[in-house]
Amino acid sequence: MTPPLLYDVTLRDGSHANQHGFTSEFCSTYIDSAYASGLRYIEIGHGNGLGGSSLHIGRLKDPGLWEVVAAKASKYKELRIGAHVIPGLATFEDVDVAIENGVNVFRIACHCTEADTTETYIDYAANRDQEVWGLLMMAHMIKPDHLAREAKKMESYGASRIVFLDSAGALTPSMVSNITHELREVLEVSVGFHAHNNLHAAVANSLSALTAGCQSIDACARGYGAGAGNLSLEAFVALLEKDGHATGLDVKQLMSLATLVENNFPLSLPKVDSLSTATGFHGVFSGFKPKILEAAAAYEVEAMDLIAVLGKSQVIAGQEDQIIATASKLAQQVDLP
């Protein structure tokens, strides 16, 4: 097993956990500490990426994040700063702004069946000499061979790596292994995996991905990400190091990074509670958790019922309004699918 590229999504996925409330000051301290631990790929931004700041999903609270990005990009020449880009939320203009501020890795993401919505965005960023990856979200919703066909499309558009995301924390180790094999079979570019911990399987799934041949793994300090959280970066690196795989990262420094997160966000640290388990079981997007609680309270319906219906009606990331619509129908006891 070759040690993977560890891609730090804390400052982006963690934005879901604190309702997009990272401050510039925290991000600045975080990036310095992460860089010191050896991390070279750090993603930052709204939980849903560029253009995500909205009433629909949640407003980014600190408008000054770009200044931090620009400062760190000029301070650390080896640092690759990533942005998450979902076509339909982000526009080409958002990509331009990110490039101007020093972002140089664009992760163009779509729901796992809609790869052709990424073509013009991959093209746009690649034509501007950026590193461009293709991301397939909610990967649990389709069969591995279908996912591989979508991944192949992204490769043909020019993506230099394909990452599949277990956005609902709904995959098991054997599913992750099957998907990885299927993707490796058809792709020439590298494959990456992004875990969520809804069923306590982020570590097991990420190890399974590595064993099956994934070359990059997304992780968060202290697992600080949407819903039940992501793969815990420091614990995963500790596991790899104990098994004799040199990751090139400083475990002690990563512990400090986790402590930094713990001290700053004691009230929103991820936990695998019953709601998170239910979203994982029903295959509902992890980032929906606060919206599910809000809508359940507003319409006086049971959050667990809401989660079950959302799973059954195959609601995908980006359809936050459908949580409200579904709660309103549940409250009126209208027939639901």
Binding site: H56, G88, H111, T113, D116, S313, Q314, D321
Partner: protein, 282 residues
């Protein structure tokens, strides 16, 4: 009798053909594409309409020149089509996002558009959201931010839609902002593969503090919903205006008429219904 030609033989063109043939006082004098054997041209020929595979040139060269051309091609081709139509004094209803003409949402500004030689129908999300945005602004004149989130089924999103997402977002934002005088507009689009395909849904969100009178806003929404439904039969409120935290939201659903396209393709139906409404009033 309005003499109209349909330019573009894709889904939009074929559905418009059926709508025009069902309408009173509208005669389709020609239907144009670029490929002689296309499914669209065959469909039009079967319906008894003169067809041409020479695009706009075929329409304007024919002896049966129309009064109006409905351009269902693409933004890239629209300038050329419009230039030729202008030469011959033929008016244009533009279904592409080219934005060369006056932007029109019939429920809101049809009277303002009828004198123009090029009337632009904006986008599906624009047609679904502008009536509700108008109601918000009418009931709350100080409103300076609004958000529009449309979700369409994967089955109804053709290759053109998928290649033009960034342009769709930007041009719909601009159209809503300028038509309604709302300073900042954010447009979001989702494409979902859920089975069975969902009917198009469009949510409108605003800051709760910008919407002091919920009851006035609700009445304004109801009024415009009804006038929009007079030309889009499947236009229905699916979530009543509701405050959640610092935001208010309501949602409409658009069920297609099922002319050429399935009922779930409300996104394609609504822009065609809007174009037909303009045509009827010209």
């Amino acid at each position: 009798m309005k003499r109209v030609s349909i330019l573009g033989s894709g889904n939009i063109g074929c559905d418009l053909l059926v709508k025009c043939q069902e309408a009173e006082d509208v005669e389709v004098v020609s239907f144009a594409g670029r490929h002689a054997n296309s499914k669209g041209l065959e469909f039009a020929a079967r319906r008894g309409v003169p067809v041409t595979d020479r695009s706009i040139e075929g329409i304007l060269d024919g002896k049966d020149r129309p009064d109006v051309v409905i351009d269902c091609t693409s933004a890239a081709h629209h300038q050329h089509n419009y230039d030729l139509c202008r030469e011959f004094g033929v008016r244009v209803i533009d279904m592409t996002p080219a934005k060369l003409g006056v932007t029109c949402c019939p429920a809101v500004n049809i009277d303002h558009c009828l004198g123009a030689d090029n009337i632009n129908m904006i986008s599906c999300g624009g047609q679904a959201s502008i009536p509700i945005c108008f109601a918000f602004k009418q009931a709350n004149p100080c409103l300076d931010y609004i958000e529009v989130v449309s979700t369409i089924s994967s089955a109804s999103a053709g290759p053109g839609t998928r290649r033009n997402i960034s342009q769709y977002v930007t041009s719909t934002q601009q159209a809503i902002a300028s038509m309604l005088g709302i300073k900042t507009v954010k447009v979001i689009i989702n494409i979902t593969p859920a089975i069975p395909p969902i009917h198009m849904k469009t949510s409108i969100l605003a800051n709760a503090e910008d919407v002091p009178s919920k009851s006035d806003t609700k009445s304004a929404i109801e009024a415009i919903e009804e006038s929009t439904r007079s030309y889009v039969p499947g236009y229905r409120k699916s979530v009543e205006l509701k405050q959640l935290g610092a935001k208010v939201m309501c949602q409409v659903q658009v069920t297609g008429s099922g002319h050429y396209l399935a009922a779930y393709a409300g996104n394609l139906d609504i822009i065609n219904c809007a174009a037909l409404e303009v045509l009827k009033h010209l």
